[in-house]
């Protein structure tokens, strides 16, 4: 195991979640915006209306400043956050999907080349070629979504990959298509919000009204399609994920869906009222409020996706605590729980105390702290004031009277549908129990 990084209060997993949620807004804008842009530019040329080009310039500059700073850096940020929070998890993804990411990178290069050329050559190259540059960007950006969705879907439902180890068997799995279509619909919605905000700042009143309405229409159509695709997506969730959600094993999943649904309704209402019916109401202030609502909705939706795959970080393959869950014969991968149960978890760690005397309580507690950090710390806050599934409080609810009570609890961990089993031998379990009991007693 790699060194463990502990984030007080919230856990390292929340750092990824926060960056990932923040990434969705700019990256979906980057993928969706240019379909609207080329629509407006085409209209400008076809109807000989150069006044529409003011929007193109402003909207593209926003995309450059927002998407190609925040979007690209938060994309890299997810990698960094995943690296420090779940290094074996991201390694597992990269070693199976490196060519997928490398392929996506080719489209990133095309995106960046085409958007800068598009922005800086407006009015400097012939309109047909300029419009074609817009199409090039639109396709490249959407294709990058087509690729990354395969990897995200693989984490949720690894499909036939567990049998074949094949790239495409894992990529095109049961949640791939509905997830791609849902994200595609969402990208039109996000592009619509930004387009309406930018359009509302235009000087020409008639153009402003017209483009706010057009952006609203794109948003409404995207959201209506999104509703149908989301229903399909939820229907195609793996049975295990549905169980966690519908059987109330994890009630927070239902709450997250409610938040996402309410956000969806608010944004849809904003499109209808503030863009289609009364375009005057669309503006930077209401637009930014709607962006915050969108941010909350996306955070809830992504939180649902991440929660629904528990106890895995990669469906069926790797647990949230980065331990390999099962054999993948096609890749010569062996499950690690039986190995750790037999040979010990601590004995396979490099970053651990050298001396562990089972009869020395202090040494045992120190060793137990290491076991607990690795096996629980990805999802549970371990510090005294922890807020994210705090172990101290959860264990206190069990009212253990001795470390042995906790040992019994650790034995039964695998019975919870959303928890990985405890992986370790007698010494690991004893050490973890001593440490956890000391945590409860310290309250």
């Amino acid at each position: 195991m790699y060194p463990f990084w502990e984030v007080p209060f919230f856990t390292s997993g929340m750092v990824i979640a926060l960056i990932a949620t923040f990434h969705i807004l700019p990256c979906h804008l980057a993928t969706g915006a240019f379909w609207f842009t080329v629509f407006v530019e085409r209209k400008a040329y076809k109807e000989n209306r150069p006044e529409l080009l003011e929007f193109i310039k402003k909207y593209t500059l926003l995309i450059l400043i927002f998407c190609f700073v925040i979007g690209s850096l938060s994309g890299v940020g997810i990698w960094y956050a995943a690296t420090v929070a779940s290094p074996r998890g991201i390694s597992g993804l990269i070693h199976n999907y490196v060519w997928g990411w490398a392929t996506e990178w080719v489209f990133f290069i095309i995106e960046i080349a085409s958007i800068y050329v598009y922005y800086y050559t407006l009015g400097k190259i012939d309109p047909k070629s300029h419009l074609m540059m817009g199409w090039l960007y639109a396709w490249a950006a959407w294709i990058s979504m087509i690729i990354i969705t395969g990897i995200l879907a693989f984490m949720l439902s690894s499909g036939k990959w567990v049998e074949t180890g094949g790239f495409f068997d894992g990529f095109f799995n049961q949640t791939y298509w509905p997830q791609l279509l849902t994200r595609t619909a969402l990208m039109f919605c996000i592009a619509g919000v930004y387009a309406a905000i930018v359009a509302s700042t235009l000087r020409n009143k008639a153009v402003r009204k017209e483009l706010v309405r057009a952006a609203g229409l794109w948003g409404v159509l995207g959201m209506l399609a999104g509703l149908a695709f989301t229903a399909w997506y939820l229907h195609r969730l793996p049975a295990h994920a549905k169980e966690l959600w519908l059987d109330q094993s994890l009630p927070y999943l239902g709450h997250l869906l409610n938040v996402a649904g309410i956000s969806y309704a608010i944004v849809l209402l904003w499109f209808v009222v503030c863009c289609l019916i009364r375009p005057k109401l669309a503006g930077p202030v209401s637009g930014i409020i709607i962006l915050i609502v969108l941010f909350l909705g996306i955070g809830a939706g992504e939180g649902f996706r991440e929660g629904a795959r528990r106890p895995y970080i990669i469906d069926q393959y790797m647990y949230g605590n980065q331990i390999v869950a099962r054999d993948i014969p096609a890749k010569h991968i062996k499950a690690e729980v039986p190995k750790f149960n037999k040979e010990g978890f601590l004995s396979h760690l490099f970053f651990r105390p050298d001396k562990i005397n089972p009869d020395n309580k202090n040494q045992l507690i120190r060793a137990g702290s290491v076991v607990v950090h690795y096996q629980c710390g990805n999802c549970h806050a371990l510090d005294r004031f922890g807020k994210m599934r705090p172990l101290k409080r959860l264990l206190a609810n069990l009212e253990p009277e001795s470390p042995e009570d906790i040992e019994g609890f650790l034995d039964s961990l695998g019975d919870y549908p959303y928890m990985p089993p405890f992986a370790g031998n007698e010494l690991d379990r004893k050490a973890a129990s001593e440490y956890l009991f000391s945590v409860v007693v310290r309250r």
């Binding site: 990084w5 690296t83 960046i112 085409s114 190259i125 791939y176």
Partner: protein, 407 residues
């Protein structure tokens, strides 16, 4: 557990999806492209400040032009940086993941700092874009320059920690057995190495200025005196920076463990010879910067690429001390995805011809004029994208139907 057992046991259980030497080549190639863009951004930022401080009209004009280079260059540098970041995780995963988690706080702070640097760069560009010809402000550029130096330090530290596996454990496991999970480790800064990466920023930027002068020389609305000023400044800067970079390179060489005998390494020797040759060639070009711009750029690229190979050879030396070699990493070759990447890569080069031609032609016409391109170039580029989509979506539907996961 010794360090060799640790690093070898931490290789990903899935193995590599293709042969390690292919990833290694891609790692070095993409890193070379990335570092050239990084150098251009760093050099342009400092030069933009310097040219404003000088307070002459050519300097101000150049500084404003560099504002655009800083923002566009930073975007390209970040996107180019994704590829080496990916490939290093594939073949050097035990080193990359260990060092980054040990310094998790700094790794994430790097992201914050580079974001702020990017916005400071935009602040400089947009703030001066509309300013009067004889005025410009350096405030945002100074902020960007300072932040860029911090990012360089953070990334340098993360690279160096990967080369120090023998110290990893002592950094976070204390003698009494307490383990630190703070992610706050910061070790291994070597100024010789850092300077050898940073000083070429001025050489790369210098060569860029030579290209700039050569590119605009045929455009009637560019003052020839201004272009001469830019070209000569670039050549002088590239010459002195290259010479200094050679000095820093030898300083770095002195810091490398002697048992590596790195001075005899063929990549190092080739890099050193090329570095000297490039410096001499640029030195001989200071009064003909526009004519010599393209050969200088090619030589500069070759030198950087070979130095990147030398850096990779040095990394392998360090890692072999920990009992690690990428060449015995287990391989589970996945041909379909490998073909997907290389086919896309070739298609990408074909597609990129369109924006390259558009940018080149648009820059060649006078202000207010419109360049007309061959419409088939754009059509073919977009058609290639649509073809890619149709092929991959078709493949996806077939795979999904075969596996019974579509409906």
């Amino acid at each position: 557990m010794d360090i060799a057992t640790y690093v070898n046991s931490m290789r990903d259980p899935a193995g590599l999806p293709f042969y390690p030497i292919v990833f290694q080549f891609l790692l070095v190639l993409t890193f070379a492209l990335h570092i050239i863009m990084v150098n251009l951004v760093v050099g342009s930022t400092f030069l933009a400040i310097w040219e404003i401080w000088k307070r002459d009209s050519f300097g101000l004009r150049l500084s404003k032009a560099l504002g655009r280079v800083i923002t566009v260059g930073m975007s390209i540098a970040i996107v180019l940086g994704v590829a080496p970041l990916l490939f290093v995780q594939v073949i050097y995963d035990p080193f990359w993941y260990t060092a980054t988690t040990l310094s998790a706080f700094w790794a994430l702070l790097f992201l914050v700092v580079i974001t702020l640097a990017f916005y400071a760069g935009y602040g400089f560009y947009l703030g001066n874009r509309r300013a009067e010809v004889d005025t410009a402000k350096t405030g945002w550029a100074l902020v960007a320059a300072g932040l860029l130096l911090f990012t360089a330090l953070f990334i340098h530290m993360l690279s160096m920690e990967q080369l120090m596996p023998q110290h990893w454990k002592e950094w976070i496991v204390s003698a009494n057995g307490a383990v630190s999970y703070s992610g706050g480790e910061f070790h291994g800064v070597e100024f010789g190495r850092l300077l050898h990466i940073l000083i070429p920023s001025f050489a790369v930027t210098g060569v860029f200025l030579m290209l700039y002068a050569a590119y605009f020389k045929d455009r009637g609305d560019y003052d020839p005196e201004y272009l001469e000023y830019v070209g000569q400044k670039g050549a002088w800067m590239a010459f002195w920076a290259s010479a200094l970079a050679i000095g820093a390179g030898f300083w770095w060489l002195g810091l490398i463990p002697q048992e590596f005998h790195f001075a005899r390494n063929p990549f190092f020797l080739a890099g050193a010879i090329l570095g000297v040759a490039t410096t001499a060639y640029i030195g001989a070009s200071v009064y003909r910067p526009q004519e010599r711009a393209i050969p200088s750029a090619l030589l500069m690229f070759l030198t950087v690429f070979v130095m990147c190979c030398a850096r990779e050879a040095l990394r392998m030396k360090h890692m072999s001390q920990a009992g690690y070699s990428i060449y015995n990493y287990p391989v589970n070759a996945d041909w379909p995805s490998t073909i997907l990447f290389f086919a896309t890569f070739i298609m990408g080069l074909f597609v990129l011809y369109f924006p390259a031609v558009a940018a080149f032609e648009a820059g060649k016409v006078r202000s207010g004029q419109i360049a007309t391109l061959d419409p088939s170039i754009g059509r073919k580029a977009v058609s290639a994208m649509i073809a890619w989509f149709v092929i991959v979506a078709g493949l996806g539907i077939i795979v999904s139907l075969k596996n019974g996961v579509l409906f």
